[in-house]
Amino acid sequence: MEDYGSGFEAEPGLDEGSIVARAQDGDLRAFEHLVNSYQGRLFRLAYRMLNDRGDAEDVVQEALTASWRGLARLQDVQAFGGWVYRLATNRCLDVLRKRSTRTEHITDPQDILSISTDGAGSDQLSDPAYAAERTARDDGLTAVLNTLPPEQRACWLLREMHGRSYAEIGATLKISPTAVRGRLARARIQIAEGMNEWR
Protein backbone atom coordinates (compact mmCIF):
# COMPACT_ATOMS: atom_id res chain seq x y z
CA MET A 1 0.00 0.00 0.00
CA GLU A 2 3.02 2.33 0.20
CA ASP A 3 3.30 2.16 -3.53
CA TYR A 4 1.13 5.12 -4.51
CA GLY A 5 2.92 8.26 -3.39
CA SER A 6 1.59 10.37 -6.18
CA GLY A 7 -1.55 10.05 -8.22
CA PHE A 8 -5.17 9.50 -7.46
CA GLU A 9 -4.70 6.12 -5.86
CA ALA A 10 -3.85 8.29 -2.86
CA GLU A 11 -7.48 9.43 -2.85
CA PRO A 12 -9.50 6.37 -3.70
CA GLY A 13 -13.13 6.87 -4.60
CA LEU A 14 -12.74 10.47 -5.73
CA ASP A 15 -15.78 11.16 -7.92
CA GLU A 16 -15.29 12.08 -11.57
CA GLY A 17 -16.85 15.51 -11.05
CA SER A 18 -14.20 16.37 -8.46
CA ILE A 19 -11.43 15.03 -10.70
CA VAL A 20 -12.70 17.16 -13.60
CA ALA A 21 -12.86 20.22 -11.31
CA ARG A 22 -9.24 19.71 -10.30
CA ALA A 23 -8.16 19.29 -13.89
CA GLN A 24 -9.95 22.57 -14.58
CA ASP A 25 -7.64 24.18 -12.03
CA GLY A 26 -4.67 22.82 -13.97
CA ASP A 27 -4.01 19.75 -11.82
CA LEU A 28 -2.04 17.53 -14.18
CA ARG A 29 -2.52 14.32 -12.25
CA ALA A 30 -6.26 14.84 -12.29
CA PHE A 31 -6.14 15.36 -16.03
CA GLU A 32 -3.92 12.32 -16.47
CA HIS A 33 -6.52 10.30 -14.60
CA LEU A 34 -9.15 11.49 -17.09
CA VAL A 35 -6.87 10.62 -20.00
CA ASN A 36 -6.43 7.12 -18.57
CA SER A 37 -10.14 6.76 -18.11
CA TYR A 38 -11.20 7.97 -21.58
CA GLN A 39 -8.41 7.18 -24.04
CA GLY A 40 -9.40 3.52 -24.48
CA ARG A 41 -13.09 4.26 -24.93
CA LEU A 42 -12.45 7.05 -27.41
CA PHE A 43 -9.99 4.88 -29.30
CA ARG A 44 -12.53 2.06 -29.66
CA LEU A 45 -15.09 4.56 -30.94
CA ALA A 46 -12.65 6.15 -33.38
CA TYR A 47 -11.34 2.80 -34.59
CA ARG A 48 -14.84 1.53 -35.32
CA MET A 49 -15.58 4.80 -37.11
CA LEU A 50 -12.37 5.00 -39.13
CA ASN A 51 -10.96 1.43 -39.33
CA ASP A 52 -7.46 2.77 -39.08
CA ARG A 53 -5.26 2.67 -35.99
CA GLY A 54 -3.22 5.73 -36.83
CA ASP A 55 -6.24 7.87 -37.64
CA ALA A 56 -7.99 6.64 -34.49
CA GLU A 57 -4.97 7.52 -32.35
CA ASP A 58 -4.89 10.99 -33.91
CA VAL A 59 -8.53 11.48 -33.01
CA VAL A 60 -7.93 10.42 -29.39
CA GLN A 61 -4.96 12.74 -29.11
CA GLU A 62 -6.72 15.69 -30.69
CA ALA A 63 -9.92 15.24 -28.70
CA LEU A 64 -8.20 14.93 -25.32
CA THR A 65 -5.78 17.78 -26.07
CA ALA A 66 -8.76 19.93 -27.05
CA SER A 67 -10.49 18.91 -23.83
CA TRP A 68 -7.50 20.14 -21.83
CA ARG A 69 -7.55 23.46 -23.64
CA GLY A 70 -11.28 23.92 -23.27
CA LEU A 71 -11.63 22.59 -19.70
CA ALA A 72 -11.85 26.02 -18.08
CA ARG A 73 -14.94 26.80 -20.16
CA LEU A 74 -16.78 23.63 -19.14
CA GLN A 75 -19.62 24.79 -16.87
CA ASP A 76 -20.87 21.46 -15.55
CA VAL A 77 -18.21 19.01 -14.39
CA GLN A 78 -20.66 16.13 -14.87
CA ALA A 79 -20.79 16.92 -18.58
CA PHE A 80 -17.12 16.08 -19.22
CA GLY A 81 -17.73 12.58 -20.55
CA GLY A 82 -20.38 13.63 -23.03
CA TRP A 83 -18.23 16.52 -24.12
CA VAL A 84 -15.08 14.48 -24.93
CA TYR A 85 -17.21 11.92 -26.74
CA ARG A 86 -18.61 14.80 -28.78
CA LEU A 87 -15.12 16.15 -29.55
CA ALA A 88 -13.98 12.71 -30.69
CA THR A 89 -17.11 11.95 -32.71
CA ASN A 90 -16.94 15.23 -34.59
CA ARG A 91 -13.28 14.67 -35.40
CA CYS A 92 -14.08 11.22 -36.76
CA LEU A 93 -16.78 12.71 -38.96
CA ASP A 94 -14.30 15.36 -40.18
CA VAL A 95 -11.77 12.66 -41.09
CA LEU A 96 -14.42 10.71 -43.00
CA ARG A 97 -15.56 13.86 -44.81
CA LYS A 98 -11.98 14.52 -45.92
CA ARG A 99 -11.57 10.90 -46.99
CA SER A 100 -14.75 10.91 -49.04
CA THR A 101 -13.45 13.81 -51.10
CA ARG A 102 -10.44 11.67 -51.96
CA THR A 103 -12.00 8.25 -52.51
CA GLU A 104 -15.27 6.92 -53.77
CA HIS A 105 -17.89 6.41 -51.16
CA ILE A 106 -18.78 2.78 -50.61
CA THR A 107 -22.41 2.08 -49.84
CA ASP A 108 -23.13 -1.38 -51.14
CA PRO A 109 -22.50 -4.09 -48.51
CA GLN A 110 -21.14 -6.41 -51.20
CA ASP A 111 -18.48 -3.85 -52.10
CA ILE A 112 -17.16 -3.45 -48.59
CA LEU A 113 -17.08 -7.19 -48.05
CA SER A 114 -14.94 -7.78 -51.09
CA ILE A 115 -12.69 -4.89 -50.16
CA SER A 116 -12.18 -5.94 -46.56
CA THR A 117 -11.34 -9.50 -47.52
CA ASP A 118 -8.67 -8.03 -49.80
CA GLY A 119 -7.33 -6.35 -46.68
CA ALA A 120 -7.53 -2.92 -48.28
CA GLY A 121 -10.61 -1.60 -46.54
CA SER A 122 -9.44 -2.15 -43.00
CA ASP A 123 -6.21 -3.07 -41.31
CA GLN A 124 -7.70 -5.50 -38.80
CA LEU A 125 -8.02 -8.40 -41.23
CA SER A 126 -4.42 -8.12 -42.33
CA ASP A 127 -3.34 -9.15 -38.84
CA PRO A 128 -3.75 -12.97 -38.63
CA ALA A 129 -3.59 -13.13 -34.83
CA TYR A 130 -6.24 -10.49 -34.58
CA ALA A 131 -8.48 -12.13 -37.13
CA ALA A 132 -8.18 -15.52 -35.44
CA GLU A 133 -9.45 -14.18 -32.15
CA ARG A 134 -12.46 -12.60 -33.75
CA THR A 135 -15.52 -14.64 -34.47
CA ALA A 136 -17.19 -14.53 -37.85
CA ARG A 137 -20.14 -12.90 -36.13
CA ASP A 138 -18.05 -9.92 -34.98
CA ASP A 139 -16.61 -9.56 -38.45
CA GLY A 140 -20.06 -9.72 -40.01
CA LEU A 141 -21.38 -7.01 -37.73
CA THR A 142 -18.40 -4.69 -38.23
CA ALA A 143 -18.39 -5.20 -41.99
CA VAL A 144 -22.06 -4.24 -42.23
CA LEU A 145 -21.50 -1.39 -39.79
CA ASN A 146 -18.96 0.05 -42.17
CA THR A 147 -21.59 0.31 -44.88
CA LEU A 148 -23.71 2.73 -42.82
CA PRO A 149 -23.40 6.46 -43.50
CA PRO A 150 -20.93 8.01 -40.99
CA GLU A 151 -23.47 9.86 -38.84
CA GLN A 152 -25.67 6.80 -38.54
CA ARG A 153 -22.68 4.66 -37.65
CA ALA A 154 -21.66 7.21 -35.01
CA CYS A 155 -25.17 7.15 -33.64
CA TRP A 156 -25.19 3.36 -33.39
CA LEU A 157 -21.70 3.11 -31.88
CA LEU A 158 -22.33 5.82 -29.27
CA ARG A 159 -25.52 4.13 -28.14
CA GLU A 160 -24.82 0.41 -28.52
CA MET A 161 -21.09 0.21 -27.83
CA HIS A 162 -20.71 3.14 -25.42
CA GLY A 163 -24.09 3.51 -23.73
CA ARG A 164 -24.34 7.28 -24.24
CA SER A 165 -27.75 8.90 -23.75
CA TYR A 166 -30.12 9.94 -26.54
CA ALA A 167 -29.86 13.56 -25.39
CA GLU A 168 -26.07 13.48 -25.53
CA ILE A 169 -25.93 11.79 -28.94
CA GLY A 170 -28.47 14.31 -30.20
CA ALA A 171 -26.32 17.20 -28.98
CA THR A 172 -23.30 15.68 -30.72
CA LEU A 173 -25.02 15.14 -34.05
CA LYS A 174 -27.13 18.31 -33.73
CA ILE A 175 -30.43 16.44 -33.95
CA SER A 176 -33.25 15.92 -31.44
CA PRO A 177 -33.27 12.94 -29.08
CA THR A 178 -36.36 11.70 -30.97
CA ALA A 179 -34.44 11.84 -34.22
CA VAL A 180 -31.64 9.86 -32.55
CA ARG A 181 -34.17 7.21 -31.63
CA GLY A 182 -35.41 7.04 -35.22
CA ARG A 183 -31.95 6.93 -36.70
CA LEU A 184 -30.97 4.14 -34.32
CA ALA A 185 -34.01 2.06 -35.21
CA ARG A 186 -33.21 2.50 -38.88
CA ALA A 187 -29.56 1.61 -38.28
CA ARG A 188 -30.51 -1.53 -36.38
CA ILE A 189 -32.81 -2.90 -39.04
CA GLN A 190 -30.29 -2.04 -41.76
CA ILE A 191 -27.47 -3.81 -39.89
CA ALA A 192 -29.71 -6.79 -39.14
CA GLU A 193 -30.60 -7.16 -42.80
CA GLY A 194 -27.00 -6.66 -43.86
CA MET A 195 -25.93 -9.42 -41.50
CA ASN A 196 -28.42 -11.75 -43.15
CA GLU A 197 -26.70 -11.19 -46.47
CA TRP A 198 -23.30 -11.64 -44.91
CA ARG A 199 -24.36 -15.02 -43.63
Binding site: E11, D15, R22, D27, N36, A56, R69, T135, M161, A192
Partner: protein
Protein backbone atom coordinates in the same frame (compact mmCIF):
# COMPACT_ATOMS: atom_id res chain seq x y z
CA UNK B 1 -37.87 15.91 -42.10
CA UNK B 2 -39.25 12.56 -43.27
CA UNK B 3 -36.00 10.81 -42.37
CA UNK B 4 -36.66 11.44 -38.70
CA UNK B 5 -40.13 9.91 -38.68
CA UNK B 6 -40.36 6.77 -36.62
CA UNK B 7 -39.35 3.86 -38.87
CA UNK B 8 -42.00 1.14 -39.20
CA UNK B 9 -42.39 -2.23 -40.81
CA UNK B 10 -44.84 -2.75 -43.67
CA UNK B 11 -47.42 -3.95 -41.13
CA UNK B 12 -47.19 -0.62 -39.32
CA UNK B 13 -45.31 -1.91 -36.29
CA UNK B 14 -42.61 0.42 -34.91
CA UNK B 15 -39.13 -1.09 -35.24
CA UNK B 16 -38.07 0.64 -32.05
CA UNK B 17 -40.97 -1.04 -30.25
CA UNK B 18 -39.90 -4.47 -31.48
CA UNK B 19 -36.37 -3.75 -30.30
CA UNK B 20 -37.38 -2.63 -26.82
CA UNK B 21 -39.65 -5.62 -26.29
CA UNK B 22 -37.28 -8.16 -27.78
CA UNK B 23 -36.95 -10.08 -24.51
CA UNK B 24 -40.70 -10.17 -23.88
CA UNK B 25 -43.19 -12.73 -25.16
CA UNK B 26 -44.87 -12.11 -28.53
CA UNK B 27 -48.09 -10.10 -28.40
CA UNK B 28 -51.24 -11.03 -30.34
CA UNK B 29 -50.23 -9.17 -33.50
CA UNK B 30 -46.69 -10.48 -33.52
CA UNK B 31 -47.87 -14.04 -33.13
CA UNK B 32 -49.54 -13.88 -36.52
CA UNK B 33 -47.49 -11.26 -38.39
CA UNK B 34 -44.66 -12.75 -40.47
CA UNK B 35 -43.01 -9.37 -41.00
CA UNK B 36 -42.80 -8.84 -37.25
CA UNK B 37 -41.49 -12.33 -36.65
CA UNK B 38 -38.78 -11.95 -39.30
CA UNK B 39 -37.73 -8.54 -38.00
CA UNK B 40 -37.73 -9.83 -34.46
CA UNK B 41 -35.53 -12.79 -35.33
CA UNK B 42 -33.09 -10.54 -37.16
CA UNK B 43 -32.98 -7.99 -34.36
CA UNK B 44 -32.50 -10.73 -31.81
CA UNK B 45 -29.48 -11.95 -33.71
CA UNK B 46 -28.21 -8.37 -33.95
CA UNK B 47 -28.72 -7.90 -30.22
CA UNK B 48 -26.54 -10.92 -29.49
CA UNK B 49 -23.92 -9.85 -32.02
CA UNK B 50 -23.91 -6.35 -30.52
CA UNK B 51 -23.30 -7.64 -27.01
CA UNK B 52 -20.60 -10.00 -28.23
CA UNK B 53 -18.81 -7.22 -30.12
CA UNK B 54 -19.04 -4.85 -27.16
CA UNK B 55 -17.47 -7.44 -24.86
CA UNK B 56 -14.81 -8.45 -27.39
CA UNK B 57 -13.79 -4.84 -28.12
CA UNK B 58 -13.70 -3.98 -24.45
CA UNK B 59 -11.23 -6.75 -23.68
CA UNK B 60 -9.23 -6.57 -26.90
CA UNK B 61 -5.68 -5.49 -26.05
CA UNK B 62 -5.17 -4.51 -29.67
CA UNK B 63 -7.95 -1.95 -29.41
CA UNK B 64 -6.04 0.44 -27.18
CA UNK B 65 -3.95 3.42 -28.25
CA UNK B 66 -0.16 3.16 -28.04
CA UNK B 67 1.40 4.74 -24.94
CA UNK B 68 2.84 7.51 -27.11
CA UNK B 69 -0.63 8.97 -27.48
CA UNK B 70 -0.95 9.67 -23.78
CA UNK B 71 2.63 10.98 -23.62
CA UNK B 72 1.86 13.44 -26.39
CA UNK B 73 -1.34 14.61 -24.69
CA UNK B 74 0.37 15.07 -21.34
CA UNK B 75 3.34 16.87 -22.95
CA UNK B 76 1.00 19.48 -24.35
CA UNK B 77 -0.83 19.79 -21.04
CA UNK B 78 2.43 20.17 -19.13
CA UNK B 79 3.80 22.73 -21.56
CA UNK B 80 0.69 24.84 -21.36
CA UNK B 81 0.07 24.71 -17.64
CA UNK B 82 2.74 27.18 -16.57
CA UNK B 83 0.48 30.10 -17.27
CA UNK B 84 -1.21 29.65 -13.91
CA UNK B 85 -1.17 32.61 -11.56
CA UNK B 86 1.81 33.24 -9.24
CA UNK B 87 1.59 34.55 -5.69
CA UNK B 88 4.50 36.44 -4.14
CA UNK B 89 5.52 34.84 -0.85
CA UNK B 90 8.62 36.80 0.06
CA UNK B 91 10.87 39.43 -1.43
CA UNK B 92 14.16 40.95 -0.29
CA UNK B 93 17.50 42.03 -1.69
CA UNK B 94 18.47 38.41 -2.33
CA UNK B 95 15.54 37.81 -4.66
CA UNK B 96 11.90 36.86 -4.65
CA UNK B 97 10.06 33.65 -3.84
CA UNK B 98 6.74 33.07 -5.52
CA UNK B 99 4.37 30.12 -5.63
CA UNK B 100 1.96 29.04 -8.31
CA UNK B 101 -1.73 28.96 -7.46
CA UNK B 102 -1.51 25.30 -8.52
CA UNK B 103 1.09 24.41 -5.89
CA UNK B 104 -0.86 26.24 -3.19
CA UNK B 105 -4.05 24.43 -4.19
CA UNK B 106 -2.37 21.06 -3.99
CA UNK B 107 -1.51 21.68 -0.32
CA UNK B 108 -5.14 22.61 0.32
CA UNK B 109 -6.39 19.49 -1.49
CA UNK B 110 -3.97 17.25 0.36
CA UNK B 111 -5.41 18.65 3.59
CA UNK B 112 -8.96 18.05 2.35
CA UNK B 113 -8.12 14.46 1.45
CA UNK B 114 -7.70 13.77 5.17
CA UNK B 115 -11.28 14.79 5.93
CA UNK B 116 -13.76 11.99 5.21
CA UNK B 117 -16.99 12.79 3.38
CA UNK B 118 -15.81 15.84 1.46
CA UNK B 119 -14.00 16.14 -1.90
CA UNK B 120 -12.11 19.32 -2.78
CA UNK B 121 -12.96 20.63 -6.24
CA UNK B 122 -11.96 23.95 -7.77
CA UNK B 123 -9.75 26.20 -5.68
CA UNK B 124 -9.30 29.88 -6.36
CA UNK B 125 -6.77 31.98 -4.49
CA UNK B 126 -6.56 35.76 -4.32
CA UNK B 127 -4.33 38.09 -2.34
CA UNK B 128 -6.11 40.63 -0.16
CA UNK B 129 -4.68 43.96 -1.33
CA UNK B 130 -5.13 45.66 2.06
CA UNK B 131 -2.24 43.77 3.62
CA UNK B 132 -0.18 42.80 0.60
CA UNK B 133 2.31 45.66 1.15
CA UNK B 134 3.70 44.04 4.27
CA UNK B 135 4.79 41.00 2.27
CA UNK B 136 7.13 43.10 0.14
CA UNK B 137 9.06 44.46 3.12
CA UNK B 138 12.03 42.56 4.41
CA UNK B 139 10.94 40.45 7.36
CA UNK B 140 12.91 41.15 10.54
CA UNK B 141 15.77 38.67 10.54
CA UNK B 142 15.55 35.80 12.96
CA UNK B 143 11.81 36.01 13.18
CA UNK B 144 10.30 32.60 12.70
CA UNK B 145 6.65 33.60 13.08
CA UNK B 146 4.33 32.98 10.17
CA UNK B 147 4.22 35.90 7.75
CA UNK B 148 3.40 36.54 4.14
CA UNK B 149 0.54 37.75 1.99
CA UNK B 150 -3.03 37.56 3.22
CA UNK B 151 -4.60 34.79 1.19
CA UNK B 152 -8.27 34.68 0.31
CA UNK B 153 -9.02 31.05 -0.52
CA UNK B 154 -12.19 30.09 -2.34
CA UNK B 155 -12.59 26.32 -2.23
CA UNK B 156 -15.52 24.52 -3.83
CA UNK B 157 -16.38 21.01 -2.74
CA UNK B 158 -18.67 18.04 -3.12
CA UNK B 159 -19.88 16.11 -0.08
CA UNK B 160 -21.15 12.62 0.58
CA UNK B 161 -24.95 12.58 0.97
CA UNK B 162 -24.94 11.27 4.55
CA UNK B 163 -22.60 13.65 6.34
CA UNK B 164 -23.11 16.53 8.75
CA UNK B 165 -22.17 19.38 6.43
CA UNK B 166 -21.43 22.20 8.94
CA UNK B 167 -19.27 19.93 11.05
CA UNK B 168 -17.38 18.54 8.07
CA UNK B 169 -16.78 22.00 6.61
CA UNK B 170 -15.50 23.21 9.98
CA UNK B 171 -13.13 20.23 10.16
CA UNK B 172 -11.87 20.96 6.66
CA UNK B 173 -11.28 24.61 7.56
CA UNK B 174 -9.23 23.57 10.58
CA UNK B 175 -7.15 21.18 8.49
CA UNK B 176 -6.38 23.93 5.96
CA UNK B 177 -5.49 26.44 8.69
CA UNK B 178 -2.87 23.95 9.94
CA UNK B 179 -1.68 22.70 6.56
CA UNK B 180 -0.81 26.01 4.88
CA UNK B 181 1.69 27.26 7.49
CA UNK B 182 3.18 23.75 7.68
CA UNK B 183 3.41 23.12 3.95
CA UNK B 184 4.06 26.60 2.64
CA UNK B 185 5.20 28.78 5.50
CA UNK B 186 2.56 31.52 5.45
CA UNK B 187 -0.77 32.04 7.22
CA UNK B 188 -3.93 30.55 5.77
CA UNK B 189 -5.78 33.88 5.66
CA UNK B 190 -9.46 33.84 4.78
CA UNK B 191 -10.99 30.50 3.79
CA UNK B 192 -14.34 30.43 2.00
CA UNK B 193 -15.68 26.93 1.47
CA UNK B 194 -18.63 26.32 -0.85
CA UNK B 195 -20.46 23.00 -1.00
CA UNK B 196 -21.65 22.80 -4.60
CA UNK B 197 -22.56 19.17 -5.13
CA UNK B 198 -23.24 15.76 -3.63
CA UNK B 199 -21.22 12.83 -4.83
CA UNK B 200 -22.38 9.23 -4.97
CA UNK B 201 -20.73 6.84 -2.58
Amino acid sequence: MALDDEPRLGCGRSIDRIWTTIDQPLNAHEQTCRQCQAARAQLKRLNEATQALREADLHDEALTPRSGVKTAIMDVARAEIRRSKRILLASNGNGTTEISEQALSSVIRAAAAEVPGIHARRCHIEISSATSDSSVDDPPSGQSGVIGPHLVIGLRSAVAPDINIPRTVQLLRQRIITAIPAGIGISAGTINITVEDLYDV
